[in-house]
Amino acid sequence: MQLTDTDLIIQAQKGDQSAFEELVYRYDRNVLSITMRYAFNEDDAKDLYQEVFIRVYRGLKNFRFQSEFSTWLFRITTNVCLTYKSSSKEHLRVSINNYGDDENEFATQEELTYKGSSPEEISSGSDLGEIVNAAVESLSPKQRMTFVLKHYEGYKIREIAEMLNCKEGTVKKYLFDAIRNLRKKLSPVYA
């Protein structure tokens, strides 16, 4: 019979490494999927994935089963992503600290700068994949995270609110802002 998450957590809390590994294998595909879509860069995504599970490992001894393990795990995942600063130099980014918790947050003009995404190049349709990625990347971290979780990963707004530890209305706001910004950025491509 397959052990439940609770069984595995209790064993892992007692120091059983294989139980922890089993727990990781149950969810790490989803975690990697989120980090891949958030980071757009394989190396960064793997770093984020590693950071998530290291934090889970460190925090597991204090896990008191007050929420589902998956909720806790994905909350850590979103936190790690939101506070992440890419090592990649290809795209310019600004630290999360520059955003604060303003729900109306937008990426700065500096962030929106992306090589080869001038209106002329967009309208010529060159390298469409990169243009779409750049547009999603240009969203503020919270807008991007919300959009990734909703559009790519298919989570419900209620679940995203739990992960981000905020109200459903706030998630909707991030989502609407994300769509509005993506439309601005991508309208030359699809309109």
Binding site: M36, I179, R183, V189
Partner: protein, 318 residues
């Protein structure tokens, strides 16, 4: 319902977040509102464009590599935790007077006198020296004690008393055989925690002796950690060299595989690869997951020698 509210419903509808009654209302509105129909089409097009760029599944190769790196990181985490704890205990036992002093003294004016007379007086120095002489191990170089992180618990001297904590440290000289667990303990601590890479390197080299040496298990664990995580390639190289003196086991194998797949210095990857090959010739075999790493290495490594050797390893197993 206002027009703008319908616009929000449009977006939620596209994300499958509308209740059936809301969906119905929106449908009715769309029949009469040209602007919202255009809006709906526009957003559908946008999401289709973006959806076209999403990958269906997580790449298995990336997942395998991520899991492998995680295993290495966890190993470092565990080793660091164990070694840090035991080494601190060991060092504290032999060298350090308690780091945290809660001193209740007469007044702030007496601070220097009290520190000098109560804590760092000749008598406490002598006590240390006596112990050291008995064990014939080390002697205090000087009475120079540095004080840092002084924090007041009670700085109000109106009642004639103050209370504070601080950290005190002093230079210590230690002499002994590499076999000595205390020597190993300090050097192990230094190779993991010294800020200066030269000191970390020297700590490793100091343990690399031609004399028959019995190493503590912690030394091996620390070397595994250094090999996988030290930022300085020279330090990693020396750790790799010293690690080869230890009996080959699972943790060493994992460290070597980690270096082969992750180290940015090709010379270190080659050295680790050669160690794996040498172990293989002594009967230590690789499992399928480990062989997959060589398959990937054969494809991805920029170094032709590593590609070639990875290929030959795979051929041997086929």
């Amino acid at each position: 319902m206002k027009h703008n509210e319908y616009k929000q419903l449009l977006q939620l509808s596209l994300f499958g977040e509308l209740k059936s009654e809301e969906q119905l209302k929106l449908k009715e509105h769309l029949l009469t509102c040209e602007e919202c129909r255009t809006e709906l089409e526009d957003q559908k097009n946008l999401l289709e464009l973006i959806s076209g760029k999403k990958k269906a599944e997580v790449d298995e190769k990336v997942l395998t590599a991520a899991r492998y790196q995680l295993r290495g990181a966890l190993r470092s985490e565990i080793a660091n935790k164990n070694i840090f704890g035991s080494t601190i205990d060991s060092i504290a036992q032999f060298f350090i007077t308690p780091l945290k002093f809660a001193v209740v003294s007469a007044t702030m004016l007496l601070f220097g006198i009290l520190v000098g007379s109560l804590l760092f007086s000749k008598s406490s120095g002598e006590e240390l020296a006596t112990q050291n002489e008995n064990e014939n191990r080390f002697a205090s170089l000087s009475e120079e004690i540095s004080i840092s992180n002084l924090r007041f618990i009670d700085s109000d001297a109106s009642d004639g008393e103050v209370e504070f904590t601080f950290q005190a440290s002093r230079p210590v000289r230690l002499r002994g055989k590499v076999n000595d667990p205390q020597i190993q303990s300090v050097l192990t601590y230094a190779m993991l925690n010294e800020q200066n890479p030269g000191s970390r390197l020297n700590s490793i080299n100091a343990m690399d002796t031609e004399f028959p040496t019995q190493y503590d298990q912690d030394v091996k664990e620390a070397l595994v950690t250094v090999v996988m995580s030290d930022k300085n390639p020279g330090v990693r190289r020396e750790a790799l060299k010293l690690m080869s003196k230890f009996p080959y086991d699972e943790s060493i194998k994992q460290a070597l595989l980690y270096v082969i797949t992750n180290d940015t210095v090709s010379g270190l990857r080659i050295e680790a690869l050669n160690s794996i090959i040498a172990a293989g010739s002594r009967g230590y075999k690789l499992n399928n997951e480990e062989l997959n790493l060589f398959r990937q290495q054969m494809q991805d490594d920029e170094n032709p020698y590593i590609k070639l050797r990875s290929k030959s390893i795979l051929q041997e197993y086929n």
